[in-house]
Symmetry: C2
Subunit: 235 residues, 2 copies
């Protein structure tokens, strides 16, 4: 879809509002840098894989993240901005998230790949509910999971069976991933006015009051807990 | 194509010869591990990219290598072998090649991505000429270039313009890549009887005599020199 089509489709003429335009650019930039960064981390994790088959699985996850990025780049260009400039403001918080959650071994990598990326996807999908249809569909498409959940669940469950102490360490690891994600999300919200304004709504756009923000975090936490349980881990 | 179809298509019934079967498995295993390994090195190179756009370009090259691997895996399974077992014997020589040619900076990475992978592709294409049609076409398809030659040529030429001394260093680097590739290729030829036998031909299969091997190396060297010239480098 072209920019002009997106303008028309938004119905409310949302893109005519410079603040809405800026918020969408911010959101796509954040998701885009998140995917590029996920590619890099997963590719790095591939180098610690215990065998060639595991290596190929996680490398394939890395490449699906990168493939999603291409569609976001195109849309950002249609919106009249340089995709890489749109990503730049999110480099520091996303890099900080990864620096604070560097996996110490293969199993921490797997859990991070599974719950970390899914958590980010849930969060962006929540925000997408406040956007025009075109942008919302693009975001939902590019966040579709990397299709390797079965592989991760199988590997982690087998490893915990073989060494039950690993379950305790990985449960703590899952909590740390959640905590770091919230910390960096708050930092982004504080720094990026357009994004925060988007969440609070506008004259002709629905937004979230504090109670709604609370319900969103409840949903995110519950889904996270379910994923941890799928891995056989307490949350 | 199924294994049975490959048997029929080969016409000469080449796959009925266990030595031919072993040679094809070796060749696909070598190419497959080469692509997995290229993915890993290019992904690592992406982490040293000077900007986000360059990072995405080289990450995309990495993922095309990985995508090619999937077709080789399928064919190896059709040939009744575990693809990862087929790759295993080539891990040591290919890892050694990369260990001896670890790029010291972004430009060495670019030159290696461009001339190293192309050199390997030329070599495998030469060997493919001695194979049944099905295998030959698979190899040629999976070696199709990663489509980023223009990007590498542009970046390297601009960098040399800005700092002509870089041209001298990168020219030496290109020679080192060629030398290491030949060293490891000889090691593989010495270790893998089926592959060497494939090159010398069989009762109903053409092969290469020493003069033909010489002509092959001449062709490889000339193509390498042309690629170096495209980069603005002496060879």
């Amino acid at each position: 879809m072209t920019y002009a089509a997106a303008m028309t489709e938004s119905g409310t003429g949302a893109f005519a509002d410079p603040e809405y335009h800026a918020a969408v650019v911010d959101l796509l930039g954040a998701i885009g840098y998140g995917q590029l960064s996920a590619f890099e981390r997963l590719a790095e994790d591939a180098s610690t894989a215990p065998g060639l088959e595991d290596k190929v699985e996680i490398a394939t996850m890395a490449c699906r993240e990168l493939a999603h990025l291409n569609r976001l780049r195109d849309r950002l260009s249609e919106l009249g901005v340089d995709p890489f400039e749109a990503m730049a403001p999110f480099r520091a918080p996303i890099d900080a998230f990864h620096a604070h959650t560097a996996p110490r071994d293969w199993y921490e990598s797997l859990v991070k790949a599974f719950v970390g990326d899914a958590l980010a996807a849930d969060f962006y999908r929540e925000i997408a509910a406040f956007l025009d249809t075109g942008t919302r569909e693009l975001i939902i498409d590019t966040l579709s999971d990397t299709g390797h959940a079965g592989f991760v669940v199988d590997r982690v469950r087998r490893a915990i069976e073989a060494d039950p102490r690993l379950g305790g360490r990985l449960a703590l690891w899952g909590r740390r991933l959640m905590g770091e994600a919230l910390t960096q999300a708050q930092r982004v919200a504080a720094d990026r006015d357009a994004l925060s304004a988007l969440l609070s709504g506008g004259v002709d756009r629905p937004g979230m009051d504090l109670a709604a923000v609370g319900r969103m975090f409840t949903r995110l936490t519950e889904t996270h807990a379910q994923r941890m349980a799928d891995l056989g881990l307490a949350s």
